[in-house]
């Protein structure tokens, strides 16, 4: 079954009560942040807190990511020294500009893995592009390492770089989101959308989630537990979608059994992409727990 990454929840790395309970809200991935949510003079404290928490606490199987500081800051290298050793599933690199940024970080991770006897390659990577340059290089960045499982867009810094601001319809982000999606699909990795910071504007949030789902994103970063259910609801296929997908797959299996190359449903021809989409809908529904897969083939990256 493929891994759902509909929601990736940011958790400020220097807040013990948030760090200890991070997994209880049901986000698909929890991301402890050592970067922007931590004040400069608390970088040491946050690093040690996340380090000790990951060493000692049981997050009951929730996927754990840690966003480190960039290697161009005085904290990035030290963050890696600490975090690699406690083996989160994913290390997220902020503000990636070039594929070299990913390779540099990979080299250090590899070095530490080797030193500690951790199987090389076991820690995955995610990169966030947050500037015009990063977005333009998204294609190379997304393909820079076998460890990469996803690429994300960070909108706040990006719109500043573009000399504009964020709007509710997200027009200013359309080109960048599309570029990141193209890069992700080309590399066969996940595409994750940016945060929506006005926690109180639920309607605006719903619209944005629908929008990015329609664009093709696998999920969205969230900053508040309240946002999790909204995203999951929108990303869960409706009973109608499930029903239709089931029928498409049945028809496809039928055709395969008959040795027929042509799949048809209700007298209409069904193309290969439609079959793939139906498979995906059922995988998503299965992962979301609303559908029991029976021998169907799940899509995995």
């Amino acid at each position: 079954m493929f891994k759902l990454r509909r929601t990736m929840m940011y958790v400020p790395g220097n807040n013990p009560s948030m760090v200890k309970d991070a997994h209880i809200f049901g986000a698909d991935t929890v991301m402890f942040d050592l970067e922007d949510s931590v004040a400069l003079n608390e970088k040491d404290a946050a690093r040690l807190l996340v380090y000790n928490a990951l060493k000692r606490l049981d997050y009951e199987g929730t996927e754990i990511a840690v966003r480190i500081n960039g290697l161009d800051t005085p904290y990035g290298r030290e963050d890696l020294e600490a975090i690699v050793r406690v083996r989160p599933h994913i290390i997220r690199l902020p503000k990636a500009e070039t594929s070299k940024d990913v390779r540099d970080i990979e080299a250090i991770i590899e070095e530490i893995e080797a030193k500690e006897g951790i199987p090389v390659g076991s820690i995955q990577l995610m990169a966030a592009v947050e500037s015009a340059r990063g977005v333009l290089n998204a294609r190379e960045i997304a393909a820079a390492s076998k460890r990469l499982v996803g690429i994300a867009i960070g909108a706040e810094d990006f719109v500043t770089d573009m000399q504009t601001t964020r709007s509710l319809d997200g027009m200013e982000l359309l080109a960048a989101r599309s570029q990141v999606l193209l890069a992700a699909r080309n590399a066969g990795i996940y595409a994750l959308d940016t945060v929506f910071s006005d926690v109180n504007n639920e309607e605006g949030f719903i619209n944005e989630v629908k929008h990015i789902k329609q664009l093709g994103f696998d999920g969205k970063s969230v900053i508040n537990p309240r946002q999790i259910d909204v995203v999951h609801r929108i990303y869960t296929p409706t009973p109608q979608e499930i029903h239709r997908s089931e029928r498409i797959l049945k028809a496809s299996e039928e055709a395969a059994r008959k040795g027929s190359g042509v799949v048809s449903l209700d007298g209409k021809m069904v193309d290969k992409p439609i079959i793939e989409r139906a498979q995906r809908v059922l995988s998503l529904a299965t992962a979301a727990g609303t559908y029991e897969l029976e021998g169907g083939e799940a899509i995995a990256y």
Binding site: N15, K20, A45, L48, L49, N52, A53, K55, R56, L57
Partner: protein, 100 residues
């Protein structure tokens, strides 16, 4: 590690601990603990403190802890932070730790 000055880490927020580490002119380790769960967990907290100080090779220090219901790993993190700060920003020996 030598405690050169007084330093603080952590907060008084719930699930956290506020820890001050200072030099001890009289030598040895002095632990001053304030905790609402002192009766049940006071001994555990003291044991953790002593262990962390030992790991960091600290022989003389006054440690003042205000515990707000912090987990053991939080006490560890805050104490390590305070000690490193009090030792004039020495860095942590990541390599020398057991990573289990």
């Amino acid at each position: 590690m030598e405690i050169k000055g007084s330093a603080m880490a952590g907060t008084l927020e719930s699930s956290d601990a506020s820890i001050v580490v200072a030099p001890n002119a009289d030598k040895g380790i002095v632990i001053d603990l304030i905790s609402s769960v002192e009766k049940q967990f006071g001994e555990d907290i003291r044991r953790t403190v002593k262990q962390v100080l030992k790991e960091l090779d600290v022989e003389d220090a006054i440690v003042k802890i205000q515990d707000r219901g912090a987990l053991d790993c939080v006490i560890r993190a805050r104490l390590q932070t305070a000690v490193l700060r009090a030792a004039n920003g020495k860095s942590f020996d990541w390599e020398g730790q057991r990573h289990v």
